[in-house]
Every structure is written in structure tokens, then in C-alpha cells.
């Protein structure tokens, strides 16, 4: 009897569980204004303000194209950090995670749902930014370049999902909101996502290499041709290592319960 039930998990049933889980995760985050509004609207508002409304040029840089890449990074970080960090912290506190852990849900579905949700929100943010950039910022970008940028940004959510996951294992409940904000906002600013780094003191420019968001910004700026001589391999390696490091830290915390 047991073996029958265990073997009766065809791939289609499994994938339906995964997608349904992702759908409900997306739906409930969309219905949570404290999550949906800041993650969807803030990057757009900041971009419109700094890239379009405020006048001025920075040397040879195309301001609205440059900031499209960096606000794109800022935009995909939010859902990943908040979705995983605050999501997990709240679900641990409410007992929801405990109930899921004894339900017949494959563990992978939980993480898949959160990653898929982060990607969907990230994609919406990038599309909103792109509409503003092309429609009001006079940015000209070829479709293939744009698709490449989207791909880089979406793959770039992974290290931030991992960092968020780790934060979610460290603290419970609303405390995670504060912690995520303390990580998210300073890291964004110090990586030059709000304003290009050359507006910053020399030592802050040098220190930017420690932030994963700086590495992702280098990649994004590179693929849309805003900076040259980008060491793609280096940045990709740093982002992969960051992902692996924080996933391991989170796994240790989760197992150590």
C-alpha cells in the first residue's frame, strides 16, 4: 500500500503542485499592500525622479539608460529580499511554516514558489522601468539587448533570494522588515544603484566591490553598453559564490532548529 502511494507521484502531479504553490504565493503577495506597493512602485518613482525629471548630464553617460540598468537591479532586489526574508520570518512566527512542514508538500515547492514570485514581481518592475525609460526618458535600446538585460536581472535575483532566506532564518516576524531594510537600502546606495558611484568619495567607490548588487549592476550596465571592459566572468562568479554562501548559511540555520 505504502509503496503504491509513494510511486504514484507522476511528474505532472508534482509540477502542478509547484505551479499552484507559486500562483497562490504570487496572489497573496499581490494582495499584501505592504509588500506589493513598495516593491513595484518605489523603483519606478525613484527612476522617474532621478533619471527623467531631474535635469543634468553626467559627462558621456546616457543618464536614463544608465539608471535603467541600476534601478533594474534595485527593483529585482526588493521582491527577492522581502519575499524570502520577511516572508519566511512571518511564516515561521505564525506557525504557517510548521503546518507546511507536516503537509504533503514537497519542500522544493515552497522555495520554487518564492523564487517564482520574486521573478514575477521583478519582471513587472523591469517592464515598468523600461516603459518609463523608452516612453519618457528617450532611451533607445534594441530588443535583443533589452531581453539580455531582463535575463541578467532575473537571474541576478538568486543571490538576493539566498540573502533574504538567510535573514528569514535569523529573525522572526516583523523584525525581519527592519533587517531587510537595513541591508537593502544601504547596499543599493553604496553600489551606485540610486546615483552613479562617481558621485561618491573615492573610498566608497573602491568599497563597492564587496556588494553583490554592485557586481550585478556591472553586468547590467555592460549588457546595455553603458560601460565597457566588464569582467563578466568575475562578476558572475562573485554572484554565484554569494548565492552558495548564503544558501549554506540558511541551510545550517534551518537544520539546526
Amino acid at each position: 500500500m505504502t509503496s503504491n502511494v509513494i510511486s504514484a507521484s507522476p511528474a505532472w502531479m508534482l509540477s502542478r503542485i509547484y505551479w499552484r504553490e507559486a500562483g497562490y504565493e504570487f496572489l497573496r503577495m499581490l494582495r499584501t499592500p505592504a509588500f506589493a506597493l513598495p516593491t513595484l512602485i518605489f523603483p519606478l518613482v525613484f527612476y522617474v525622479m532621478f533619471a527623467i525629471v531631474l535635469p543634468g548630464r553626467w559627462g558621456d553617460f546616457d543618464k536614463s539608460a544608465y539608471l535603467l540598468a541600476t534601478y533594474g537591479v534595485f527593483g529585482i532586489m526588493g521582491p527577492a529580499l522581502f519575499g524570502f526574508g520577511v516572508g519566511l520570518a512571518l511564516e515561521r512566527e505564525s506557525g504557517w511554516l510548521a503546518l507546511k512542514q507536516v503537509s504533503p508538500m514537497p519542500t522544493g515547492a515552497y522555495f520554487f514558489a518564492k523564487i517564482a514570485m520574486s521573478l514575477c514581481f521583478g519582471l513587472v518592475v523591469v517592464i515598468l522601468l523600461s516603459i518609463a525609460a523608452v516612453g519618457f526618458g528617450d532611451v533607445e535600446i534594441a530588443l535583443d539587448r533589452w531581453l539580455l538585460l531582463v535575463a541578467v536581472l532575473l537571474l541576478g535575483t538568486l543571490p538576493f533570494c539566498a540573502i533574504g532566506l538567510w535573514i528569514g532564518t535569523l529573525v522572526k516576524g516583523q523584525a525581519a522588515v527592519a533587517i531587510v531594510n537595513l541591508v537593502y537600502l544601504p547596499m543599493s546606495i553604496l553600489s551606485g544603484l540610486w546615483m552613479p558611484l562617481f558621485a561618491f568619495p573615492q573610498f566608497l567607490q573602491k568599497a563597492a566591490v564587496i556588494w553583490p548588487s554592485w557586481h550585478l549592476a556591472q553586468l547590467s550596465l555592460g549588457v546595455i553598453g553603458q560601460i565597457s571592459d566588464v569582467r563578466y566572468l568575475l562578476h558572475v562568479s562573485v554572484l554565484l559564490l554569494t548565492t552558495a554562501l548564503f544558501l549554506s548559511l540558511a541551510a545550517m540555520r534551518l537544520r539546526g532548529r
Binding site: V5, M13, T32, S103, P104
Partner: protein, 309 residues
């Protein structure tokens, strides 16, 4: 009503010699427990007895420090094995922004052969709340949704932790009726409770636990018989430590010159008492309430020299 096939048949869920420690607290101490098909088992005991830990082990939430845990012959930490159980925990809060029907659909999707949505909602008594968001429900309604998630997959075995805590009398009766219906349909249920009347009303078998150990295991009638003790009060100078070791004495306390004994078998004890102390006076014999008797069992047969607890 379906009767258990055989007391010795393969158990649906089983703990054998299981111990579990949380930090310095030994939550379960070498415990044995088995749930047979089509049986309702009540884990009865005071808070901290280890009831919730036993459920957590059987539902795969935690792993045992030692001993063996089996669920349908498999390991409950494997999610596929858990398709045969439904769980209602004591303190789970579901995401607030999803509607009742969405919650039930999500959980139904985990099971290979779920109940129809309408049927689940009707059984849990929440048909009229299907379109409501979880955060718009009262506490009792939220408990019903959590119950709906436990039964939506039609699993052959349910784990229910303190099902009626915080429910009013009417809701509690309604819940008992649903449990009786599930039991009649052949579902096995392991529930924890610290209400004796609840265990008595629902269970085929009561397992009395205290301090992480099984103190007694019997039918409700059997447990009641064991617990049908008497309280004997009298004035005497007999040594209380020695009294506590007498065969028919389950507990002995002293308060000044008055001693109080609890016993399941009062008559032979009285005879022996009168023989042992010719000065003995002021005898009073009173029946113990079931609660008192079980509490005496649950704190195990220790002597309390302080004031009666």
C-alpha cells in the same frame, strides 16, 4: 461502525522506544505508541506531558533522538508518506490575504485523491465562508479552516492537536459530531486533549501521558475504572512515607495531624489503617473526581509531603 481489524495488525503510525529532548527538557522518555486502523486514540495529559511532541514526531516535524518512528511503514519526514495524513496543529495561522476556498484548494492539491471542495467546506462547517479572506474570520472560524485543511485530502489518518481549545460548547459538540462521522467512515484519528470528557466522548482508546511517558493505556471505560479512586482523610500519627508504600495507596499527604490518602481500592486500605493505628480518628471517605484521579495518575505515584497540590 467498523471495529479494529486486529489489535496486533500492522499499525498505521507507531513510536517504539522514542525519546526526544528539547535543550534540557526531556519531552518524551522512551515512549511506545501505536495507532491501529479505524481507531480513534486520545492522548490525554496535562500541559508539558509530551502530547504535542508525540504528534510532531509522527507527522515528521521533528526527528527522534532515539527509537523508531514509523508512519504507514515509512518515514514521516518524507513528504510522499505524509499524503496519508492530515494534520491540525495547535497554533497555526494561515496567510491572511488568501480566501478560505483558496486555502483549501491549495492543500487539496497536495493529495492524490482529495475531497470535493464543497464537501470539505461543508464538513468543516464553513461553506458560507468560502469567499472570505482568512483575516476576516473569527478565531473559531479560523480553527475550522485549519480543520478543513487537515481533512481535505481524505487521508486515512488524522493528527489533531487540542482540537477544541478556545471553542464554545456548541462548536465543541459540533466538532465531536464531525469526528464521529469520520471515525464511522473508517478514518483513524490521533488527537491530543486535556479534557477528559473529550477523550471519553471521542476515543476508542485513551493513552494517558505524563512527563513524557505513557502512564496508562486503556478504553475510556477502563481508564475511568482505574481512575475511580477514593480520598480518605483521618487523624493519625502513622508515618506518611511508609504509608505511601502500602499497596493500595496512590498518594499520601499530611497536613498537621490530618493525613490524606488516595486509593483506587479503599476498603482493604481502611481495614489495614484501622489495624495499624488504634488511635486513628475522624475518618472521612470521599469519591475522587475523574479529573483528580487522572491528575494523581499523571503526576505519577509520588508522595507529596507539602500541602495537597
Amino acid at each position: 461502525m467498523q471495529k479494529p481489524v486486529s489489535e496486533n495488525g500492522p499499525a498505521l503510525a507507531q513510536l517504539i522506544g522514542v525519546s526526544k529532548r528539547y535543550g534540557k527538557t526531556l519531552a518524551l522518555d522512551n515512549i511506545d505508541l501505536a495507532i491501529q486502523p479505524a481507531q480513534v486514540v486520545a492522548l490525554l495529559g496535562p500541559n508539558g506531558a509530551g502530547k504535542t511532541t508525540a504528534l510532531a514526531l509522527l507527522s515528521g516535524a521533528v526527528r527522534a533522538d532515539s527509537g523508531s518512528v514509523s508512519l504507514f511503514g515509512g518515514d514521516p519526514t518524507d513528504w510522499r508518506v505524509r499524503r496519508q495524513i492530515g494534520v491540525m496543529q495547535q497554533s497555526a495561522n494561515l496567510p491572511e490575504t488568501l480566501r478560505v476556498a483558496e486555502h483549501v484548494r491549495q492543500f487539496s492539491g497536495y493529495y492524490p485523491n482529495p475531497r470535493a471542495l464543497d464537501e470539505t467546506l461543508a464538513m468543516a462547517g464553513i461553506s458560507d465562508l468560502a469567499a472570505r479572506r482568512y483575516d476576516a474570520l473569527s478565531g473559531g472560524q479560523q480553527r475550522r479552516v485549519q480543520f478543513a485543511l487537515a481533512i481535505c485530502g481524505q487521508p486515512p489518518l488524522l493528527f489533531i492537536d487540542e482540537p477544541t481549545v478556545g471553542l464554545d460548547v456548541e462548536s465543541r459538540r459540533a466538532f465531536w459530531k464531525v469526528i464521529a462521522g469520520l471515525r464511522a467512515a473508517g478514518t483513524s484519528i490521533l488527537l491530543t486533549t486535556h479534557y477528559i470528557e473529550e477523550a471519553d466522548a471521542l476515543a476508542d482508546r485513551i493513552v494517558l501521558v505524563g512527563k513524557g511517558r505513557v502512564l496508562a493505556e486503556d478504553t475510556p471505560a477502563g481508564i475511568k475504572a482505574r481512575a475511580s479512586g477514593k480520598r480518605i482523610r483521618c487523624t493519625s500519627n502513622l508515618d506518611i512515607t511508609r504509608l505511601a508504600q502500602w499497596p493500595h495507596v496512590s498518594s499520601a499527604t499530611r497536613e498537621g495531624h490530618t493525613i490524606e490518602l488516595r486509593s483506587a481500592d479503599a476498603e482493604p486500605l481502611l481495614r489495614r489503617l484501622l489495624d495499624a493505628d488504634p488511635q486513628l480518628a475522624d475518618i472521612e471517605v470521599m469519591p475522587l473526581s475523574l479529573e483528580e484521579a487522572l491528575a494523581a495518575l499523571a503526576t505519577s505515584e509520588t508522595i507529596t509531603l507539602e500541602q495537597a497540590a
